[in-house]
């Protein structure tokens, strides 16, 4: 797998791994247990460009491509999936819609501070009654002169507790069905913008996932992204891109679980030998390594297609689906290899097991991904 990467890819991976192992790995267990967002590390990540990976340099970003993006996300997630989530959602779901659909002025206004990590971004689509069915959102933005009056109840917002700039999906024309959906950018601190309690989640606990509610919040008309009614198009494109990052995140978790399992299998002795000598363990290790490699290859292919301007919806959906399932399976096998100790917080595989689970749920459930893939495949061979 390594030989498929360029010199630049390798230098990047070494550099990010070295930073993550030195700065994040020592605190990963604590920030998970304390459900704490590590500002001290996030600040350093911002200075190194992790919050503007694909943003052009003229807007304070690093100007990297998608393949390099997946490497950064995988390496952060290998040590702390909650921070990997923060970075990928910030880059793909908050910055990408502004870069893809914003005007020059909008990009100048929001992107540089996001790219430097001085401000954190969030993507607010999900509502209590609208998850997989994004068309069912109830949030409204009613135009009143030079501003919209926005009312919204957004839940499970990744980065919600720390986000300054939020991409909010609303209905600008409540009677127009799916064509009435639009995207506005709302900034924290605007009167009526309320951050709800941080969710007490099973995994990804270092990420302050929260609800965000807007009560008669006045948002200037110039904060509309794209045109009125183009909300679903923006959302679907952002999700296509975001799924590459979630796939990379899932690969990072699986890689960490594989490494821990191998380490433990070589140390733990039962029946007079390290358990790695037992065929039952070897079968699991072989399956885990094969799964991780296949997931990484699929994620890299999706990123490669995007970098080369090719259609990538199917490849991305397949990569995210597969990587999410691999991540759960590999973390599960890592726990199994650890036996009782794997079920204890004394070993990191317990955390990987909890973190892996949600990669089959968010940014489109595994079931929605199968629908997307089936639609693409049925069209392809028609």
């Amino acid at each position: 797998m390594d030989t498929l990467y360029s010199e630049k890819n390798r230098v990047l991976r070494r550099s990010v791994r070295s930073f993550c192992e030195r700065e994040i790995m020592p605190i990963a267990k604590d920030i998970d247990q304390e459900a704490r967002f590590p500002w001290e590390v996030v600040e350093k990540m911002g200075k190194l460009g992790y919050f503007g990976i694909q943003v052009p340099k003229k807007l304070s970003g690093a100007g990297m491509d998608s393949v390099n993006y997946t490497i950064v996300i995988e390496e952060i997630s290998r040590v702390c999936a909650g921070l990997g989530l923060c970075v990928t959602v910030h880059n793909s779901m908050a910055i990408y819609p502004i870069m893809g659909f914003g005007t020059g002025e909008q990009k100048q206004k929001w992107v540089p501070s996001l790219a430097r990590g001085e401000k954190i971004g969030a993507f607010c689509l999900t509502e209590p009654n609208a998850g997989s069915d994004a068309t069912a959102i109830e949030a409204t933005a009613i135009r009143n002169g030079d501003h919209y009056v926005v009312n919204a109840n957004k839940v499970f917002v990744t980065n919600g507790g720390v986000a300054d700039i939020c991409i909010i999906f609303v209905r600008t024309d409540p009677d127009a069905g799916r064509k009435g959906t639009s995207v506005i950018v709302a900034e924290r601190g605007t009167p009526g913008f309320v951050v709800g309690d941080i969710e007490d989640l099973s995994g990804m606990r270092s990420n302050p996932v929260s609800s965000i509610r807007l009560y008669d919040c006045k948002v200037p008309v110039e904060n509309l992204l794209g045109r009125e009614g183009s909300g679903l198009k923006i959302g679907l494109q952002a999700l296509d891109v975001g799924r590459i990052g979630i796939g990379a995140q899932a690969v990072g978790i699986a890689q960490a679980a594989l490494e821990e399992a191998v380490k433990y299998a070589n140390q733990r002795r039962q029946f007079g030998v390290p358990i790695a000598k037992h065929q039952a363990i070897q079968m699991m290790i072989a399956d885990m390594a094969t799964q991780v490699d296949s997931a990484r290859l699929m994620v890299t292919r999706a990123a490669y297609l995007k970098d080369h301007g090719k259609p990538f919806t199917k490849a991305t959906a397949m990569a995210k689906l597969h990587a999410g399932e691999v991540s759960s399976q590999v973390a599960d096998m890592a726990v199994q290899i650890h036996g009782g100790y794997g079920y204890s917080k004394s070993y990191p595989v317990e955390r990987y097991y909890r973190d892996a689970r949600v990669t089959r749920i968010y940014e489109g459930t595994a079931e929605i991904h199968r629908m997307v893939i089936a639609r693409e495949v049925l069209n392809e061979y028609k």
């Binding site: 390594d2 030989t3 010199e7 630049k8 390798r10 230098v11 990047l12 070494r14 550099s15 070295s18 930073f19 200075k47 190194l48 460009g49 992790y50 990976i53 340099k57 970003g61 690093a62 100007g63 990297m64 390099n68 950064v72």
Partner: protein, 258 residues
């Protein structure tokens, strides 16, 4: 004061080899002991201005160390590469570095890591300084500038020695003297956009084949194998008191305590 600082870096093998050293791009990276030398050079440049040049001798795959240095922010990278350099020991390596440093002259400061993580000799810095006829301080821990040169603290075991050194000088930098910076993502992007490191071969350095590679190396590596460490477990019999006495005697005999 504006320095030209040359930092000599090495692309090391990051996985322990067995019997034969095979350099592949996946198993090469910058010697971790060179990072503090680069950081020291970049720190001086930030304070006083000037330029930082990194030199690295090795085959084409050694370029990864130069890319890493360029990502950290050096001004110029030079790869010293020629098939004739293969098999160079530390003396032949310093012959090549000396020729390159003379070509880069004037240089105010030449920095090395204290040693490398693969061959671990720590000889190349000192050999280079001797050949250049320049003062040398190894394990430099802090550097101050004076009108007459540098005040350098050298850290060896639990002692700090302070030296006054005239310039130009050669220093090897103690690994705990500074925290090397991380390459920023835009630094990495820029390093690979520029791709501006030069490659100098034997002819460019005006060297002859008897100064480099096998002919220029008074030492030869004849073989290499892993050392196997045998561990054995012994049980000490007797009452608790007797067991303690026996254990203490055993540790005394082994010279581990006392």
């Amino acid at each position: 004061m504006s320095f030209h600082i040359v930092v000599c870096i090495k692309s090391v093998i990051t996985e322990a080899p067995d019997k034969r050293v095979i350099r592949t791009p996946e198993k090469c990276g910058m010697n971790p002991f060179d990072r503090p030398a680069l950081e020291t050079a970049l720190g001086i440049k930030e304070k006083t201005g000037g330029t930082v040049t990194a030199l690295s001798m090795g085959p084409a795959v050694a370029a990864s160390a130069l890319y890493e240095a360029m990502s950290m922010g050096i001004d110029r990278g030079v790869l010293l590469s020629d098939p004739c350099f293969a098999g160079s020991d530390t003396l032949a390596t310093s012959n090549v570095l000396v020729a390159a440093i003379k070509k880069l002259a004037p240089c105010d400061l030449i920095l090395f890591g204290t040693r490398t993580s693969d061959s671990d000799t720590g000889q190349v810095g000192p050999q280079t300084s001797v050949q250049l006829g320049l003062p040398l301080v190894t394990c430099a821990h802090s550097i101050e500038y004076t009108d007459s040169g540098l005040l350098v603290e050298r850290r060896a075991d639990d002692f700090l020695e302070k030296f006054q050194v005239s310039l130009p000088a050669v220093l090897t930098i103690h690994p705990s003297s500074v925290q090397p910076r991380d390459a920023s993502l835009s630094g990495i992007e820029t390093a690979f956009e520029k791709k501006e490191f030069e490659t100098w071969d034997m002819a460019a350095l005006d060297l002859s084949s008897d100064q480099v590679g096998d002919p220029g190396s008074p030492t030869k590596v004849l073989s290499m194998k892993r050392v196997k460490r045998d561990r054995k477990c012994e049980f000490v019999d007797g009452s608790a008191g007797e067991q303690v006495d026996a254990l203490v005697n055993r540790l005394l005999e082994a010279g581990l305590i006392g």
